[in-house]
């Protein structure tokens, strides 16, 4: 008997003994099963800034984990060795939710980051671990592409403290041709996340010739500003040739700087550029008085002048979770 998985918009119809598009949700005896619950293939202690999350508990460590699999198949995926691999080909740790919480505490981490591949496809593991973490006073962070249906998304957001969602582009064509997905559900997920009250940041990988035209960037920025708010931190990330996109050049720093300028001109208050050395593009400035608030060097916070969530010079409230 076939089953249909309604976790994400792909709505995979899965035959007996087969897996869905994500590789990790299978039809076993007419029941939908997850094969990666408690089996992360990678776990690390990362600075929260690496997610990227620049306005959420700066300088803290996030216990970061991922299983194999993803419901998107981005040709440029930077983590394709895990996101596009099968569980049977990839060794994993045995780490049930209670062990994740224990490891998080033992490693002095403030949060758990469900990251690297796609936390949505290991949904049940993410959800159960998030519930236990919340009971233990640990924050939950999602690093996701946001390709999920509304009902499970709303349920997961109840236990989520912060998310950084990667919006891949601003056209359906880009999502279809590069990611094997669609744009609209991602936009819906972003709006729902913001409305839920969690801390939200957005990233966008700028790929030469595919989504780096000034008009595309402007369209993306205007959508973010109008639907998520101008205070939403926005990270433009540098593309490097990877996976099935090895013939394109890395994004030029000039293009990233231009994306930042366009965003600022459209009213975005906190715009960053990542995967590249940039002093201004890594720092946080007060949107009102323009003074430096947080100075960063890579993932290291050199100085943080924010006082009680506000600018110490003009008292402007700065969007974020600061302690």
């Amino acid at each position: 008997m076939t089953v249909q998985c309604e976790l994400c918009p792909k709505a995979c119809v899965i035959g007996p003994g087969k897996s869905g598009d994500c590789r990790v949700r299978i039809n076993l005896d007419g029941v939908l099963r997850t094969v990666v619950y408690s089996y992360p293939c990678t776990m690390h202690v990362d600075p929260i800034e690496k997610k990227p999350l620049f306005h959420f508990l700066p300088s803290t460590a996030a216990f970061s984990l991922a299983t194999v699999g993803c419901n998107l198949h981005c040709k440029n995926c930077q983590n394709w060795e895990i996101s596009q691999s099968n569980p049977e080909d990839t060794p994993a740790f045995f780490c049930p939710p209670e062990t994740v919480v224990e490891l998080t505490k033992n490693n002095q981490c403030t949060s758990i980051a469900y990251t690297y591949s796609e936390p949505i496809i290991y949904y049940e593991y993410t959800l159960d671990t998030s519930k236990l973490a919340r009971q233990a006073g640990i924050k939950n962070v999602l690093v996701s592409a946001g390709y999920i249906n509304q009902e499970p998304w709303k349920k997961l957001l109840q236990y989520t403290d912060a998310a950084t969602i990667d919006i891949k582009g601003i056209t359906e064509e880009f999502y279809r041709d590069v990611c094997s997905a669609t744009l609209k559900p991602v936009q819906d997920a972003l709006v729902t996340a913001k409305a839920s009250g969690i801390h939200l940041e957005v990233s966008n990988l700028v790929i030469p010739t595919l989504n780096d035209k000034p008009d595309d960037i402007r369209k993306l920025v205007i959508w973010i500003r109008d639907n998520l708010g101008s205070e939403t931190p926005l990270h433009f990330l540098r593309f490097f040739p990877m996976h099935q996109m090895t013939r394109l050049a890395p994004t030029s720093p000039e293009t990233l700087n231009l994306a930042r300028e366009i965003s600022t001109a459209e009213g975005m208050k906190f715009v960053y550029i990542g995967n590249v050395t940039s002093k201004e593009g890594q720092n946080t400035y007060c949107p009102k008085c323009k003074k430096l608030l947080i100075e960063r060097s890579g993932y290291v916070i050199v100085q943080n002048r924010i006082k009680a969530g506000s600018c110490p010079d003009c008292s402007e409230k700065i969007y974020g979770v600061w302690k």
Binding site: V3, N79, T90
Partner: protein
């Protein structure tokens, strides 16, 4: 066919559709799930806990 038998056959056909329809649909249409049940056995190999205190090489 008498009128009575004709009406009886219509009722029988209707009853068969009402009773058998959902059964047949269940056989043909996939059962829908949002949430999956965990499978206790991982299909790949299990590795010992190690190197988890380092910064990850993966993006994100």
């Amino acid at each position: 066919m008498t009128r009575r038998k004709f009406i009886e056959s219509i009722f029988k056909f209707g009853a068969a559709v009402i009773i058998g329809g959902p059964w047949a649909a269940k056989k043909v249409l996939p059962e829908k799930f949002i949430y999956a049940i965990k499978l206790d056995k991982y299909p790949g190999t299990i590795k010992p806990l190690s190197d988890i205190t380092k910064i990850g090489k993966w993006r994100g």
